[in-house]
């Protein structure tokens, strides 16, 4: 009886340890290959056209590949905002678009047209807040997204005219090209000064930002 109990505990223990060790090895391998990939083409992280939130010359840059229709991006918005409040002078956020969902490209254009009217943050927050209403993945209702933007003060007729411009297509194309080259497959994907997260998570992001900020103090 004791014999069998011991075997069972041993087997489960070994299985658990093997799983955790494997997980660590795998994640660090993925992180280092991703790091190398980014190091070779760092120009793909930040483009001239990319929206920057926070101090433009901040030494620590969080790059977020972002899809306005993605629930996790919505959930991470307050997390990132809090991080920026924690280091108001040191951290800036660069938003790159990853229009993975149906209709996302239109909403990205809506956000970009809000930038031309200097209402980027207000519209972004309003559109994200209303995301559960408009962003049904199979059947997005973009009119509701426009309505949310309008509530944030966006001049919709002007925005619609701006959205038709081909420059925005070029912006989207560039972002998609970059995320393909960087092998970004999920949103949100974060890079902090070019370094990817060891594994996805709120704490991992906060730790990486804290690390990069503490490098400045040395």
């Amino acid at each position: 009886m004791i014999n069998r109990k011991l075997i069972i505990v041993l087997v489960l223990g070994i299985a658990l340890v093997a799983f955790l060790v494997g997980m660590n090895l795998y994640q660090s391998r993925v992180q280092s290959t991703q790091e190398q990939q980014v190091a070779g083409q760092s120009e793909r992280l930040v483009r001239m056209h990319s929206p920057v939130i926070g101090p433009r010359e901040a030494p620590v840059t969080i790059v977020e590949f972002f899809d306005p229709a993605c629930e996790t991006c919505r959930a991470f918005y307050p997390v990132v905002k809090e991080l920026m409040q924690q280091y108001p002078a040191d951290v800036r956020l660069v938003i790159r678009y990853a229009p993975f969902h149906q209709g996302s490209d239109q909403v990205v254009k809506l956000l970009e047209s809000a930038r031309q009217q200097d209402k980027y943050l207000a519209v972004l927050e309003s559109v994200l807040a209303a995301q559960p209403q408009w962003a049904d993945h199979g059947n997005p209702n973009l009119e509701l997204a426009y309505k949310a933007a309008e509530q944030a003060g966006l001049d919709i007729p002007r925005a619609r005219a701006d959205m038709a411009a081909t420059t925005l297509d070029a912006v989207l194309q560039q972002d998609v090209q970059d995320l393909t080259a960087l092998k970004v497959e999920k949103t949100p994907t974060f890079f902090v000064n070019g370094r990817p997260l060891p594994s996805f998570g709120q704490k991992q992001l906060a730790d990486l930002v804290a690390q990069e900020v503490s490098k400045l103090k040395r």
């Binding site: 069972i8 489960l12 799983f19 997980m23 795998y26």
Partner: protein, 138 residues
């Protein structure tokens, strides 16, 4: 430990290893399981619990109940193996939407296709359980 129990322990070890690997591939490596993979998981995950219980309490009936799961899993894994080997016309593939069962990269372990590994695991469990049941039959 009684020697007759060895095949039961063996079957349980295989089930634990297979369950752990499936979870690793799905949760850590982030590969989305296709429909056929899900059916195999449905057969394998309970085996990891069931056979552990049977081994712990030295209960012959546990092996009796586990055997149909192992056979069902072997059936699906066999079909899946034929599918990736190209022996089944693709038109039969039951998963139209979602993740494809044929076109996914399944040879992640040095060219060994995952369905083969799954089939091997189910077959080893089936054989071990049959052996154990024969040894303990009166």
């Amino acid at each position: 430990m009684n020697r007759t129990l060895t095949p039961l322990l063996g079957a349980w070890l295989v089930a634990v290893a297979a369950t752990g690997s499936a979870l690793f591939i799905g949760e850590v490596m982030g590969m989305v399981p296709c429909v056929l993979c899900w059916y195999q998981r449905i057969a394998m995950f309970p085996l990891a619990l069931l056979l552990g219980m049977a081994f712990y309490s030295e209960d012959r009936r546990g092996a009796v109940y586990a055997l149909p799961l192992a056979l069902a899993g072997a059936g699906v894994a066999g079909y899946h193996s034929f599918l990736v080997a190209g022996l089944v016309p693709k038109a039969w593939v039951p998963c139209g939407a979602g993740v494809s069962c044929t076109d996914q990269k399944l040879d992640i372990v040095y060219g060994i296709e995952l369905p083969w590994l799954s089939l091997a695991a189910f077959l080893v469990i089936t054989v071990s359980l049959s052996l154990y049941l024969r040894r303990t039959s009166k």
